[in-house]
């Protein structure tokens, strides 16, 4: 059962949800809406891809939402200062990777629990964003008028939002990295039994740092997309996104205890959450009830994925 769910369960849950929503409102299957859906999913999916690596090592990263905001604000600031947008985005993404590496360093060398380290840096990075933006959104004609700036988050290619391509490419890369390389194998080993992995010659510290760097980088990519999409960097962007990303990973069948899970599951998990949000909007469910529905759907999906039990 557990084995089955890990392979097919999340997909089944997604299909059931899609059928349900499209029966209740046929507008759901509209190509336009599906494009919107994919676009809406992409930010959470990108963050979740990084979160997947972290969770596979039995870690967690609560700071991704703050990294998203800080790197977004950073890139926007650069643009206002006259840097070409694409270069500014690159700088923003690198800054995100550095923030992630900082988490990784504290966790690997400080030997502190990832939960509390990233809880603390979540606060630090958010505070830094407020200081940087002075609490106001960063925007300006340099952002509003630059085509290359806007294309990332607002452009379409063959009728598909550009950010969807970004998601697909990064999914493919994350998939290969996790399932086809020794890096991925070591990630699983680290999460399965840190001591055994260490004794088997895995450089566990370096691996941890790299993994949090990836998580930071992907959060920053999401930050660039959001900044471009809104043509402004919001100081409170990404608040609470860490929870959606974690939910996507877990809904996809990855164990929070580490060592078990597939990248495909995480993509499906992100889609489940996206369909849920999109569907509830389409069905006009009142915002009070939306939270209840969302919680219940997560519960149902996750109860199917019972943890491999003790006996």
């Amino acid at each position: 059962m557990g084995e089955f769910y890990t392979k097919l369960g999340p997909l089944t849950a997604l299909v059931v949800l899609v059928i349900l929503v499209s029966v209740l409102n046929s507008a759901f299957l509209n190509v336009n809406n599906l494009m919107n859906l994919l676009q809406q999913v992409s930010v959470n999916a990108l963050i979740a891809f990084g979160m997947q690596f972290v969770i596979l090592t039995a870690g967690i990263d609560l700071s991704v939402g703050s990294i998203l905001a800080l790197s977004g604000a950073f890139a926007a600031q650069m643009i206002l200062m006259g840097m070409p947008p694409l270069l500014a985005f690159l700088v923003g993404m690198i800054s995100g990777a550095i923030f992630g590496a900082f988490n990784g360093l504290l966790i690997a060398y400080g030997k502190a629990a990832p939960f509390i380290v990233t809880l603390a840096t979540m606060s630090v990075f958010r505070g830094a964003t407020y200081v940087l933006t002075n609490g106001n959104p960063i925007t300006g004609p340099k952002m509003n008028n630059s085509l290359s700036f806007q294309f990332i988050g607002q452009g379409y290619l063959f009728g598909v939002p550009f950010q969807v391509y970004i998601m697909i490419v990064l999914y493919a890369l994350a998939y290969m990295l996790l399932h086809k390389t020794t890096f991925g194998r070591k990630t699983y080993a680290l999460g399965g039994n840190e001591k055994a992995a260490f004794v088997a010659g895995v450089n566990t510290k370096r691996l941890q740092i790299l993994i949090y760097t990836i998580a930071g980088f992907l959060a920053a990519v999401a930050g660039m997309i959001l900044t471009s999409q809104l043509a402004s960097a919001q100081p409170d962007a990404g608040t609470g996104y860490e929870m959606d990303a974690i939910a996507a990973v877990v809904l996809g069948g990855t164990s929070l205890a580490g060592g078990k899970g597939k990248m495909f599951g995480t993509l499906v998990g992100a889609l489940i959450i996206g369909v849920l949000n999109n569907g509830m909007n389409l069905l006009g469910i009142s915002s009070f009830y939306q939270q209840i529905v969302k919680g219940i759907v997560i519960l149902i999906a996750v109860l199917l994925d019972r943890k491999q039990s003790q006996n």
Binding site: N25, A27, F28, N30, N32, N33, N36, Q39, Q40, V43, Y130, N134, G135, N136, P137, T139, Q154, L226, Q229, L230, A231, S232, Q234, P235, D236, A237, T239, N277, N278, N281, L282, L283, G284, S286, S287, F288, Q290, Q291
Partner: protein, 288 residues
């Protein structure tokens, strides 16, 4: 419960503006509106050389109570409170009363305790004005949608109340969905609403941020959009015609008025019980 031995207005020991130590507790600083209230306060205080101490309650009533306590401990001369919630602030106001520190409520009132004055722009009225704008533009029974703020937040409740009361029988509200006062959520939610209701003619967003997101979803469709606040980003969008109208509140003025009231009090002058901060409708056409 008793309110304690607060000083009566007649016995105020007069103080020069530069000696008035001002404590401020704002409901949140992650919303540009209140950042601008703060700017208004700071600017006015700076002009008069008085000291300001500002705390951010992060939309948490309990945190705000703690912060007011801490301001009392610091013996400030006046506390400007922008309550997270008008009921929940009452015990804090009473504590200040007991300590003999005058309280100025800002943007939202306090439903108890003794407040020197309340400086506010009326959120219910703002909602009503937004509704009237859509009625003017669209005529009766046009289909409209509402983007709500964070469920339960005071501004969301008040603005929604004003809007919904006004449109009853005049406009056809086909759906209302929360986008948490957030620009990114405003975009996504608006996209989804448009899928389900492609025939809407107007949108009311409870704040500028959500409207700015919704604008991205609406693109060039002929849908009238109105919001409340008047943040710099919002005003720029009105200017460029992306947002059709904003019920502009003037946060900086609000902050300024609150500080002025404090000075007046310490000059021994009488302060009105309520001070209205102006609100007015800014339309895209006006700015051209």
């Amino acid at each position: 419960a008793s309110v304690g031995n607060n000083k009566s207005d007649s016995k105020v020991t007069k103080k020069a503006a530069k000696n008035v130590k001002i404590g401020v507790s704002l409901s949140t600083l992650s919303n540009p509106f209140f950042v601008n209230v703060k700017k208004g306060i700071d600017a006015e205080a700076k002009k008069n050389d008085s000291k300001v101490e500002t705390f951010d309650a992060q939309n948490d009533s309990s945190k705000q109570n703690n912060q007011v306590q801490d301001l009392i401990t610091k013996k400030v001369d006046v506390i400007i409170i922008n309550p997270v919630d008008s009921d929940a602030i009452v015990p804090a106001v009473k504590k200040a009363n007991q300590a003999g520190i005058p309280v100025i409520a800002c943007d939202r009132g306090s439903n108890g305790g003794k407040v020197m004055t309340t400086v506010a722009s009326d959120n219910v009225k703002a909602g009503k004005m937004a509704a009237q704008f859509l009625e003017d533009q669209l005529g009766s029974n046009a289909k409209v949608a509402e983007l709500e703020g964070t469920p339960g937040a005071d501004a969301a409740v008040q603005r929604g109340k004003g809007f919904n009361n006004e449109i009853k029988g005049n406009l056809d509200l086909v759906t209302k969905q929360s986008a948490n006062f957030d620009r990114a959520k405003g975009l996504n939610t608006m996209q989804n609403i448009l899928q389900a209701h492609s025939d809407i003619k107007g949108v009311f967003a409870q704040n500028d941020e959500m409207a700015l997101g919704a604008v991205k979803a609406i693109k060039d469709q002929d849908i009238k959009i109105v919001s409340i606040d008047g943040t710099p980003d919002g005003m720029a969008a009105v200017k460029s015609g992306q947002i059709d109208a904003i019920v502009a509140q003037q946060p900086k003025t609000e902050g300024k008025l609150a500080v002025e009231a404090a000075y007046k009090y310490y000059q021994g002058k009488k302060v009105d019980k309520t001070i209205a901060s102006p609100i007015h409708l800014v339309k895209a056409d006006d700015t051209k």
